[in-house]
Symmetry: C2
Subunit: 230 residues, 2 copies
């Protein structure tokens, strides 16, 4: 008897297995269809990404002390990604604060804060819409941790709406890496969001990230359906 | 020399005059067009309707004392409508409060609180999407004024997205009273909102009302354009 040594939690592994099974099932379902993109009965997940920050190891230690490591609070849908136990306070130029902003792990090369437009207005900053990592020319905020203060010069963005997808998902939809598509969410206040960036990577599960403004504008939590369209 | 005795402020009158001029101009522009609905270069205004309440005279006096009258803080776009100086605190079932909720005038037959989904989540209530006035079966909140407390049994809604339009506007678009249309807002995060209820009345100026979630989800304040579509 052999045991697979896979460095990820069981629930994440199970999700991936389900994903593979459903994708193959979908392929079988749509094998005879000429319009794959429309007919693809995908395992689409849409999640609200509340305000959070990604952090570098150096900045983490500035805020929480030398040798600090991110601890898993909850695993996220994307393999290896997690909400950390550590939280911080962010403060804008008008001394307005937002408390309990959660750090997402693992640590990254560069610290980045992702907020909604409502948050940006509350903080008094003009955070632009950017894909993750494109932080040149963006504003900064003050970040408070239990052991220190971090003065970010830039890195505060409204994350560009995006969909994580595997190359297989992309092929089923007929979408490409970097393409912009649309997401339609059906609810008591149905809405269609343009400019959903396709991010294709073999490690990704099929998942759209909206921010809290977008999620609440379409009542995502009580939605009856969602679809990606070109 | 005669003076017109019109019971409305000068800026409101000016807006109406401009509206008439632009509408006639638009009619001239589109006179030769077979597709009026698409070609109509309308004087479309889209505004964010922040959380507020409408109030009955009786409830106003409960909160502010006998003989209280609403005082104009700022005139709104629709003729005769105004944001009042009076503000209240609303409290949900989990003792969470939202302060400084503004009353809109004039007084109405029935008190009604209009909030966003974000507000509803913050208060801990399940406020349904309803057109104004349809409050049967909706939740209530506690309302605090400087002179009293009002226990609303119902009347808290997420206002159904709607467009105010004159019969002339409706005709230009080819829309009817009670019809649902869509609003597309072009910005750095373009979005299309379904189920915009057409409310047609000769007193109305052409104006869409979104709530703060919707307005922020499409960055309405920095939008480059907006259009109503069937």
């Amino acid at each position: 008897m052999t045991t697979l040594n896979i460095p990820m939690p069981r629930e994440q592994l199970e999700r991936i297995v389900r994903q593979v099974v459903r994708t193959q099932f979908a392929e079988r379902l749509t094998a005879g269809e000429p319009q794959l993109a429309a007919a693809y009965a995908s395992n689409l997940v849409v999640n609200i990404s509340a305000r959070h920050l990604h952090i570098s190891q150096e900045d983490l230690e500035t805020l929480f002390g030398p040798g600090e490591e991110l601890r898993v609070y909850r695993w996220l849908y994307q393999p290896g990604e997690f909400a950390a136990e550590q939280r911080v306070t962010i403060i804008g130029p008008r001394q307005r604060a937002i408390e309990n902003v959660r750090i997402l792990g693992p640590v990254r090369e560069r610290t980045q804060v992702e907020i909604s437009l409502t948050d940006a207005i509350a903080l008094g900053i003009d955070a632009p819409v950017r894909p993750s990592g494109k932080v040149e020319g963006t504003p900064g905020v003050l970040v408070l941790g239990p052991e220190g203060i971090l003065k970010m010069k830039d890195g505060v963005i409204r994350a560009e709406r995006h969909v994580h997808m595997s190359p297989g998902d992309a092929q089923e939809y007929g979408f490409e890496q970097g393409q912009y598509v649309r997401l339609r969410v059906m609810s008591d206040c149905t809405a269609t969001f343009d400019r959903i960036l396709c991010r294709v990577d073999p490690r990704f599960l099929l998942e759209v990230h909206l921010d809290t403004d977008e999620g609440n504008a379409c009542n995502l939590v009580n939605a009856t359906g969602a679809e990606l369209i070109a």
